[in-house]
């Protein structure tokens, strides 16, 4: 048998065997990675995906967790849709999101810009800015309850010092929602600032030097260098913030109880009311599914943006 014929005769066996060996080798090489992946997948499956799927199932059912559940189609959705608080809840949630973007999106970026320019005490100020994030949210919210106290609260004391009229803060339908936005902005300021700061520090210094040589002032440098260079992170943060702020709950729950006159009822707060106070967990799930669909749109945009970033 010639060498050629031997190669030919071994060829079919080799074509089956080689990829299998290669696959085994790849599996062996990646076994640790698969192990870690399994852990993460199991955690996600049980604590994220399973509750999400279960939430969708429950939103189409009527159950008391004793008798077999009854499939009721869209009845739970109709029930929550017809609730008098449904409209205000969505309106407040959208308003809160918009206001939180105006304050909570711009302010951390400006602070990051200032911190990036500082030459002294940068680490100290970074710590100070991040400090509120380290407080448990409930503690931060309750701190503001004192600040907003109508008679002796810090904010009205400050207004009084400048001879300005006191505000009703949480006690007025005009100011309650904005007051919650201020709390939320303060609590989340640190994370946004640090992310922006990290992005700013990746911008090559030469770009600023070139801009300066071209006679660009500070605002032109921000507009023509900083923003284009951080465009992607700005977009991602925008989307993440929309997703996070639309789920506002702890601020109305602890500070206003949804009032005055439903002016701070949010979708998640209403969901909580349905699930735990009204004893209608299926209605709460229907609201959750509605919110999930809205948030999925923003999440899809986020995924697309981050994929474009990678490519």
């Amino acid at each position: 048998m010639t060498a050629t014929s031997m190669r030919v005769s071994r060829s079919p066996r080799g074509s089956r065997g080689r990829p299998a060996t290669k696959r085994r080798r790849e599996v062996r090489r990646n076994i640790t990675a698969y192990g870690f992946l399994c852990g993460a997948l199991i955690c996600f499956a049980f604590f994220s995906w399973y509750p999400m799927v279960w939430e969708v199932v429950l939103s189409f059912q009527q159950t008391n967790f004793v008798d077999p559940p009854i499939w009721v189609g869209l009845e739970n959705f109709v029930t929550v849709f017809q609730d008098a608080a449904f409209g205000p809840a969505w309106k407040n949630t959208v308003m809160f999101t918009v206001l939180a973007l105006i304050f909570g999106y711009g302010v951390p970026f400006v602070i990051a810009l200032v911190l990036n320019e500082l030459r002294h005490a940068r680490a100290y100020l970074r710590f100070v800015v991040y400090l509120p994030v380290m407080l448990p949210p409930a503690v931060g919210v309750l701190l503001f309850q004192w600040f907003y106290e109508p008679e002796y609260g810090l904010f009205n004391q400050i207004l009084g010092f400048f001879r300005l009229p006191a505000l009703d803060w949480l006690n007025s339908t005009d100011t309650a929602l904005v007051s919650l936005v201020i709390v939320s902005t303060w609590m989340n300021l640190g994370t946004g600032t640090l992310i922006y700061l990290a992005a700013l520090q990746t911008i090559p210094g030469e770009l600023y030097e070139a801009a300066e040589l071209d006679g660009a002032g500070i605002f032109k440098r921000i507009w023509h260098v900083t923003i284009p260079q951080t465009k992607l992170i700005l977009l991602v943060m925008l989307l993440l913030q929309i997703v996070a702020t639309m789920q506002v709950f702890i601020e109305p729950y602890l500070l206003t109880g949804g009032g005055p006159e439903n002016s701070t009822v949010s979708v998640v707060y209403l969901m909580y009311q349905y699930a735990f106070n009204f004893g209608n967990i299926n209605g709460g799930n229907a609201l959750g599914v509605m919110l999930m669909i809205v948030l999925m749109v923003f999440s899809a945009i986020y995924l697309r943006v981050s994929r474009e970033d990678k490519s």
């Binding site: 499956a45 199932v57 008391n64 967790f65 008098a84 206003t256 005055p260 009204f278």
Partner: protein, 464 residues
Amino acid sequence: MTRSGYRRTAGLLLATALGLTASACGSGDEPAQNNARPTAGGSAAAGPVSITVNCMPPKTNKAQRATFQEDLDAFQKLNPNIKIEKATDAFPCYEPRTFEAKLAGGQLETVFYVNFPNVGRLMESGQAADLTPYVDELKTFKDYNASIDIFKKDGKIYGLPTDGYGMGLVYNRDVFTKAGLDPSNPPKTWAEVQAAAKKIAALGPGYVGFGEYSGNNVGGWHFTASLYGRGGDVLTPDGKKAAFNTPEGQAVLENLKQMRWTDNSMGSKLYIDWPSLMKAMAGGKMGMMLGAPDVLIGLRNDFQAKFENYQITALPEAKALFNGGAGYMINPKATPEQIRAGLKWIEYEFLTPGKGQLDYVRAKGADLTVGQPYPDLYGADTPSGQEVLKLRSENANVDPAQFALWVEGSKGIPPKAEPGPYAQEIYAILDTPMSAVLTRQDADVAKLLSDAEAKVNALLEKKG
């Protein structure tokens, strides 16, 4: 990852999710092994039975926890066939956020605590066992007063009240004295309440004449209490329509609006949950609030108030008293044997004069308060009622004068229960008019009530 790679991953995830869902659905559909529903006259096979109970006092409350543990041991010694496997001490005893998860997961205790506002909902949704075939086995059951009615639905009994009281007017004697008011002669009419509140607020910054709730459903709850007191009702007798848009309902809101904006006697702080008003009252600068006698004990035990300063009197001009309190229900998945054992525990720990919570000799020795006029569970002329009153007065260690005006003034005023199974939804709707009159000077009471009425009617129509 390639497109087909994404598809494969997505397929895998979907399959995992559906698999999990299917298994979850399965577990939800399958009756638990001990899901035997009680049947009339269900046989009680004599044999060991295990139950679990909740509402054990927390470790921070050493005295009450010790007496509870003592009772657990004594009860099991007395009933060798009954084993109390577990007594949970989670606080609050009824936690709506975990109730259904525990029920679904088979973790709900056999005997569980429930406060009155949630009783109707649990009965309506079938989340409590029917106790009708078993209650006559209890010695004290026939002595119950009207407080048992809250646990009745369609002629069946779903629980037993273990704590019950009517509403009144809680006030601070010290603040009254400072304001030049006679603490031994507190207001008897709403006009007198208004006048007293005005005097108290005039004491200076921080003083609040009258405090009231306005959010998180407690605003609606207190609107109901005031409305009942004035002779009004939240729902029509058949429970199908709202009935609060009446002169009585208007009077409740107009009175608050006047005190808040004309007299400026209610302060500017909003009290949106139960502890917030209690804290303010305990602070010693608030004159009056609506509350039941348990508020005084709560102020002493949980809010470190100067107990001797507080007193309760009858609800002004009361035509009916909103019935507050709590009780115990049994897990709907319990077997008939477990139901019987659970009822025995409830009777031993909460309903037997001289035992458990009604062991006033022991309570006095353990420095717990004795002498407050609750729980008010039994008819005054029944054997249990008379024995409880006798033991209570013999061992009283609180000044009876703190409750005397309430006891005297509340005599003969009929109790009135929560407004049906959708009470919490209705309270949430009624929070709006309450918060409106306390935050807006131009609040239109008639419009607020008619808006709330339309919302409640829509809710009731939907619920059928």
